[in-house]
């Protein structure tokens, strides 16, 4: 309905009270994310603009400010930089962009960094990356904010380091496209999507490499090849199939994975120790990354 709502928990009454935020968009909102300091949030929409909303205590009202140029199509995903002042978006015009979202009204004092070599005002485009042909489904800054990774519909995975904004490391994968990604630590991230399985990628100074599929295939009970004669005849009679396999999927998710979020982090290193994925098959799966790394044979993150 082209609006956003902020829900505040009422302590005395014990329920969540919604507060309307007028986004002033003329198409649907597609994505929303709170900033790291949780004083503002960003909403991406089909109206080709990004709304940054913050609370104005004078009027007791959430105000939205727009970033419009030069976004040319629906925004699919948004991510905040850990500094709270930069925001990255991926959109259907095949580009990934980084904008400055420092607000004077909230007393922001942004620092210059590799992303923003000189102080810019709200809404300035800091960087733009082209993915040739794919809608950008997922974008995320690394935990330190120095690297930016995005996954696109042309089955590619791209990473850029703010130290060298012209060099984008791309991996053209041989899988179906990914729709979401999550940085596990500064040097590795997991991507998941139409493959039904999260994959782990490692980032080094030379580039990005595929490390492992994180869904260890289950051993089917009874085995694939050792089907009894009776079962075989039954299958032929009922389903018309003479061989095993074909209709079952051997990954945990049975349909596209749409979202991957960190669940808990290792307190010492800040790396993700558990994460969850949810998909179009209606499943919410929690993965224990620490256990997986040991079973997949010494994966280092």
């Amino acid at each position: 309905d082209r609006n956003a709502y902020v829900w505040n928990y009422q302590e005395q009454d014990g329920y969540w009270k919604p507060c309307l935020v007028l986004l002033r968009i003329n198409r649907a909102a597609t994505f929303v994310r709170w900033s790291p300091l949780e004083d503002r949030f960003a909403v991406g929409s089909g109206a080709r603009l990004l709304s940054i909303c913050y609370f104005d205590p004078e009027h007791n009202w959430w105000v939205s400010k727009h970033i419009k140029k030069p976004i040319r199509s629906t925004i699919l995903c948004v991510d905040w930089h850990p500094s709270n002042h930069l925001v990255a978006i991926g959109s259907c015009d095949f580009k990934c962009r980084v904008f400055c979202s420092a607000l004077k009204e909230l007393g922001d004092k942004p620092q210059t960094s590799n992303w923003m070599p000189k102080l810019n005002k709200f809404g300035t485009l800091l960087a733009e990356f082209d993915t040739n042909n794919g809608w950008v489904h997922g974008v995320q800054f690394s935990p330190s904010g120095n690297q930016l990774a995005w996954v696109a519909h042309d089955s590619s995975v791209n990473v850029v380091n703010s130290a060298n904004l012209t060099k984008v490391h791309t991996v053209l994968t041989s899988n179906l496209p990914y729709s979401c990604l999550l940085w596990m630590s500064e040097s590795s991230f997991a991507a998941a999507g139409f493959n039904y399985c999260p994959d782990l990628y490692t980032v080094t100074a030379d580039g990005v490499t595929f490390t492992a599929k994180m869904d260890v295939k289950k051993e089917k009970s009874g085995g694939g090849a050792a089907m009894s004669a009776m079962a075989r005849f039954q299958k032929l009679d009922v389903q018309g199939q003479s061989e095993t396999g074909g209709t079952t999927v051997d990954t945990t998710h049975e349909n596209c994975i749409t979202e991957i979020r960190a669940l808990s982090r290792n307190p010492a290193t800040g790396a993700v120790s558990k994460f969850s994925t949810s998909g179009k098959d209606g499943r919410l799966v929690i993965w224990n990354f620490d256990a997986l790394s040991s079973s997949l044979g010494g994966l280092k993150i």
Binding site: R72, D93, S155
Partner: protein, 153 residues
């Protein structure tokens, strides 16, 4: 009954042309081949094929396709070059040739295979042999990149 019952002319109006917010691809200059380079390449490839250097011919034919070129005949010419190379391969050699290509060349080859399916469906059998081997190396991702490609090879 409403007035405008007989004429369905309005259904042929291109609504997108009137939409001022309509997305248009950037018409950027890219470093792709022009007509001269394509002809030059066709000659080189023919030379290599005469010397029976099929693997080198394939690599040469797949280099720098005229993607951004607005002239359809240039694209047609490059397509003919590629098809002539593919035809010259024996079934047993396809494996070795595909193993030699890197991911970018695999993507380009896949685009030409799909173009072949549409343009010359009678040759589909031999193209399908190539398709099977290319998918073994490039995977479903290379097919996705063919579908997603906007400029057309």
């Amino acid at each position: 009954m409403s007035k405008n019952v007989n004429s369905t002319q309005f259904r042929t109006v291109d609504v997108d042309a009137y939409d001022e917010d309509n997305y248009e691809d950037d018409a950027r200059e890219t470093g792709d081949s022009g007509a001269a380079e394509v002809t030059e390449r066709a000659n080189q490839v023919r030379g290599l094929l005469n010397q029976l250097k099929t693997k080198e011919a394939l690599k040469m034919a797949l280099k720098n396709p005229p993607v951004g070129n607005k002239d359809a005949s240039v694209k047609e010419q490059n397509y003919e070059t590629v098809v002539s190379v593919l035809k010259s391969f024996k079934a047993a050699d396809i494996d070795a040739a595909v193993a030699d290509l890197d991911m970018v060349e695999i993507d380009i080859l896949m685009k030409y295979l799909y173009k072949g399916f549409t343009c010359s469906p009678d040759k589909a059998a031999s193209l399908l042999q190539w398709h099977e081997k290319v998918v073994a190396k490039g995977g479903l991702g290379s097919i996705v990149r063919v579908m997603v490609d906007r400029k057309g090879i």
